[in-house]
Symmetry: C2
Subunit: 425 residues, 2 copies
Amino acid sequence: MMNKTAEDIKALGKLSRQASRKLARLSTDDKNHVLINLSGFLRTEQEAVLLANQEDYQEAKAEGLDESLLDRLLLTSDRLEGMADEIQRVSELPDPIGEVIETSSLPNGLVTSRRRVPLGVVGSIYEARPNVTVDIFGLCLKAGNACILRGGKETIRSNTALVALIRKALIDAGVTEDAVQFVDNPDRSLVDAMLKMDEYIDLLVPRGGASLVRFVAENANMPAVTGGIGVCHTYVDKAADLDMAVEIVHNAKVRRPSICNALDTVLVHADIAAAGLPLMAKELTGSGVELHCDNRALSILRLEALGSALPATEDDWGREFLSLIAAVKVVDSLEEALGHIDTYGSGHSEAIITEDDAAATRFLDEVDAAAVYVNASTQFTDGGQFGLGAEVGISTQKFHARGPMGLKELTSYKWVIVGKGQTRP
Amino acid sequence: MMNKTAEDIKALGKLSRQASRKLARLSTDDKNHVLINLSGFLRTEQEAVLLANQEDYQEAKAEGLDESLLDRLLLTSDRLEGMADEIQRVSELPDPIGEVIETSSLPNGLVTSRRRVPLGVVGSIYEARPNVTVDIFGLCLKAGNACILRGGKETIRSNTALVALIRKALIDAGVTEDAVQFVDNPDRSLVDAMLKMDEYIDLLVPRGGASLVRFVAENANMPAVTGGIGVCHTYVDKAADLDMAVEIVHNAKVRRPSICNALDTVLVHADIAAAGLPLMAKELTGSGVELHCDNRALSILRLEALGSALPATEDDWGREFLSLIAAVKVVDSLEEALGHIDTYGSGHSEAIITEDDAAATRFLDEVDAAAVYVNASTQFTDGGQFGLGAEVGISTQKFHARGPMGLKELTSYKWVIVGKGQTRP
């Protein structure tokens, strides 16, 4: 039954398109029924999934995959419980479909409204984490979309087992099992075929590293979410509360260094660098962070005789470290900080630490990013934290959705016009 | 000063990007000042524009351009007044920028809001009508965007003269004249260069025929508006009020046959075809409409001995006529009508004429199009008619904006998060 050719993938696309028409009209109860089924199966039918995952895991281990990747692909009973909790939460979120976004009566008596509808078919191309399979399906279904999933080759057995649970959850609720399609052949040529299927796929969601996201953006002929890459700055203004700055900078870097909203570069105003930088550096290096410093920062920190402070190279600015490394630069003004962020930022999450309202306002106004912060950690950029309930990803583009994408961001709308025989003069 | 190479176009892109940062922070008053200036100049400084247009016109005439194209490129004093009125209206529309779309206080004390911001730089590639130059500029400016304009080669002198007025209006209001960039060389290779400048252009708006829209969609590496192509159906249900049906069908076809929301195909329920079809055909053919009929429609109309009814070919279904031609088909059910629209529609504007609420509801729910109508003419699909004030175009895609695109559809948003030192647990 393995998909072998571009034609097979097209056939999946066709089934998805047909299913999407049914899903668009599914009741909230039916959608939640599927999700609650799935949440249950993820708790009660773990055996096949865990077995399949062990095969993936042992093979990947034998092939020498590194520890962090192995950890990502590993499923445990607890992790399946976590996935079940997440799907349960999605079932509890309000259904976005059918919402009337706005309505108005025109002078000629026509009543126009915009009504929220699904996008249709969402394709997702992702890497090692099998939880994405369940995540994307759950959010797509709740927003009335069919999905076509293409996970990493390292997790193909795990994903196959998870998709079997999803299909069972669908059938059990009387919903078409074509709501989910799974590309069960890791051949890259099938990804290429998927990227050209704008007839069948309305939106592509790549989930993975920068090179995957770029590849999809450049080669897909349908809209694709660009995002997930964050070169994030925190600017410590001369009017910063230094204790607050130390805490925020530490949290933004250290809480989870491997995610896209983690701090990459600290910019410190020259007026408070001598007092503040050693405090920040002490906290950071104490947690194992390696600092790549410009000359001015380096000379301040050398005086303080701290370890783990190395000279920065040009490559350090604009780099997403995804690890316990941070770049540090001393700037002479808010202006210089804004210029640096403009040049090196990726438009993801940027923060200023200041007690000066004017500086805060200017930062919020002028920084062009999905999320701009005053006196808080950039690690808050997340659909759950922002009250969206869940997220399919974080967009750094300006078209359609920017920042965390939740259920609403998986929808479109249609104009509905009700008349009594009106014609246009 | 003519742009000659891809590098020249890149330089325009760079200037636009720089200008866009200033425009994003322009006050509403400053933006309106520019628009009011421009509206004034379009009334008081017509001479240079009309002269340039005459040169374009005579050259196009000598080259044998057809009448309808000649008419499109022609500017008259009245048409310039019309453009002035339009720009005046844009100045009176509310400024979308800075609007707080939604705001919430999280349990941890963070205040998050989404604030409306410009897209940045909008590129437009369009054909013979010079009014597009002024239209696109006005809407882009009001939404805080810089624009790069590339009009048709037939109107290059007219557009150059209009851009001179725009620049004068900008300078006079103390706003950077780089807010508008004009590609003054009709060489197609410069269009190709523009389509690859995702670094500098955030959105492309093609305005013109189907082949232009397709070319841009397939070749642009930034988001592009897909739309402007409408294969529009009106389905006359068995429960239709026949007098209403005759009037609406006539209006949807004849009012302006050359625009994208004009009717292309009438679907008539078999139960009322014998009674209704001759009435509709009489009105349509009386206004010079040629009918391309399926066999059943043809046999009814032949019995009625009406002229202008020809047999339809497969090509007639799904064809955008843009002229006084309509396809006619008899269907046995609402289902069949829905299936036909699903197969042949372009997702633009679709209508049902019926007194049956259940049929109307089903049509509105199931037809997947930007605008779905009950008992009204599809010619209403228009930004002005829908209360958007103005439009840059009509989108038939589901991503970002669907249907008429007004000022808001030329914007994005940023998440603004204000804290008091919060870190993420």
